[in-house]
Structure formats: C-alpha cells, structure tokens
Amino acid sequence: MDSRPVPPKYLTGGQEYLDALVSLGLIPAFLGWGWDPSVSQWMLVLATSIVDAGGPLALNRLLFRAYNAKATPKEISPFIVRIFSPELIQMSGDRQFWLLGEKNATVNPVPGKSNPEARPTKITNVQKTFMGLELEMINSYQTLPGAVDKALAGYHARHHDWQRFRRNVERLAA
C-alpha cells in the first residue's frame, strides 16, 4: 500500500481536536486520520473505551454538543469522526494496531557477523487497514502514556471516564 500523507491542515486540525478532547477529559486510546476508500474521504479515527460505557449515540450527542459549543475545532465535523471501541481492536487480535500511535517506537536488531554493533532503529511508519480504513503512523497522533492500558482497564474505569466527559460537556453547554 502506497503511503498517503494527510494534508497539513487536516493534521493541524486533528491535533487541535485531540487537545480539545483531552481538555474535556476524553483521553483517546488512539486518534489518527484514516483514508476511507469507499467514500474517498479522510476520516478521523477515534478509539475510546467510553463508547462502551455510554454507547455510540450518547457519545455522538456529546460530541455534537461540544462542537456546537465551539469546544472542538470548527474544521473537524463530528460527521467525519469514526469512533471505535478498543475492545474491537483487541478482539481483532491485531496488537500492532497500537504501534500507529507510538511515534517513538524502535526495533532492536539482533547483532550478527555482518552487523556486530546493531543499534535500535526508529520505526518511521506503520500501515494498517482497519474496518475498511487505511491508517498510517505518519497520519496518527502520539497516544498519551498509559492511555491504551487505561482503555482496557475494565468497566469501572471506563464508566468513570464516561461520567467525567459527560459532566464536562454538559457544563460547557449549560
């Protein structure tokens, strides 16, 4: 699959979206741009466990509310945000998915005769197709430390995160 870098204005808008979500208490397990070939459009892929706690409709209601209250960037319509549960990613058995959000990941080559002083090499890009969306590390944002583990921590943790995000958005819109 050829690399398809996202336009810079999308990349900037996505970073602002990430900052806005974090300030509202939603820490994504993954956020990145994915190319949707079925509609020939960039979609912002958001993996968060609070979708399991609140459900997709309730979460979308909050995202629209935050958008209408101008708490999230105007350029990122909630219609282009695709939300997935981290459980779905775990169920697919593709643990390498999380590498997309690890900008500083390295590989350690095995020292050998031809390469006796093997040094860790930085991974520059990872490509994945997930649920029909073409994702790349270069189009993704750095996942905050511990966000993936927290997303998979269980019912009480995600319920707590959901309540926090809901309260923050409702306070904003009030």
Binding site: S38, V39, D52, G55, P56, L57, A58, N60, R61, L63, F64, Y67, N68, S77, P78, F79, I80, R82, I83, S85, L88, M91, S92, G132
Partner: protein, 229 residues
Amino acid sequence: MLRALTHAALADFFKEAESPGCRFAHPGYACYKRQWSPHPHSRCHLREEGINSAEPVAHPRSNMRHGPLCLCAESREEGHFAIAIQPIPVHSADEWLQLCARYRDDALALHRSRRPDGAWLSAGFAVECCLKAAIMKRERLNRWPDRDSAPDLWSHDLRGLFKRLGIDPLRFDHRNPVAPALKVVLDWRRDHGYSVGKLPVKFAGNLCEAAFGSNGVIEWIAGQYRLNI
C-alpha cells in the same frame, strides 16, 4: 408452476438471500424457522413433487440428518403454500416501506431477544429501505430503476443513498437534533454482517434508537417526504 427443488436450485436461490434473523448460517442455504425439515406437511406441494427423495442434508445445529429445506409456511393463515422461489423485485415506494417496516420489526424483536448482531443488521436495512422509498418519492419514479441505468441505487451504501436524496452530512445542520442519530446511522455498513466479532447489546440498541426513536432518522425522513410507515 412449482417444480421439484434440488439442492443446487436451493443453493442458487439462497446464495444471495439474506436471513438476518438466523444465526445458523449454512453455506448455500438459508435457515427457515431455525430448522431443516424433510417435511411432514401432508399437503405440501413440494412433497408431492417428490422433494423428499433428494439427498439428505444436516442442519448445523442438529446431529440428525434430514431431507432438504422445506419452504412450506404451514403456520400462515392463508394456508399451505410455497414461499416464492424467485425473488419478487420491489417496484414502488409503498413496497419499500413495507420492507422497511418488516426490517424495523425484525430489528426490535432481535434487540429484545438480546441478539445484537441481527438487530444491528436489520436496523441498517430498515433505514436503507426507507431511503429508497424516499428516493422514489422525491424523484417521482414509477418503478425501481434497473441496475444498469442507476447502479448507485442498487447499493447498501447509506451515505450514497443520502447523497442521492440531496443530504450531504458535511453540509447538514449540526444543531439539528437528528444530527447525532444520522451520524450513528451513517456508520452502519452492510459488511458488518460478515464480522464474527460479538457486537455489544448497547451498540445495537443505540442504532435502533437512532433509526426508529423520536428524533430518529426514519421518523425524520418520513416527515420530510410524507411517508407512511
């Protein structure tokens, strides 16, 4: 005129057929009332046609080997008859609405029975049928176009069907109370029916609410295009 059905004929017919309520998929066959049957209906036309003599097949949930799938609808008030062997194409907005209501009822029944995968799929089909009815009404079509003349209408892509109706999500009023429901409905894909992962009950319930609830997509489309569902 009924003809004796062979396994091959059944397989051809059901290759494309969808039985969203059935979890017991069997390659080439659909499951009727969750059972394969020889079948013992005394007045069944297919029995008279000698269908029982065909090679037996096993139901995936049964250790017993039975005859081929019986297409009799014994429990119907109209009496014994064979379900149409050839699919009957939809030709009017009213017929699309009938399909919409059928899929809606299926989705709600499956959701109540805690069968989220089937409920999810049926809810999406209900929206698709509603959209196709609205398209027929908006474009004043007196029959459903052929696949060659309008390939974009022969699609399960809800986003494309909404666009055909003149509804572009990116230009949709984000303050409209239907917007979150529309977003959830747009995330539905026909391909999800081929996923083996377990869908959470809450997800299916949310799609049903987004499609059929107040401020739901179907109610909104019906209001816009004066459809009686």
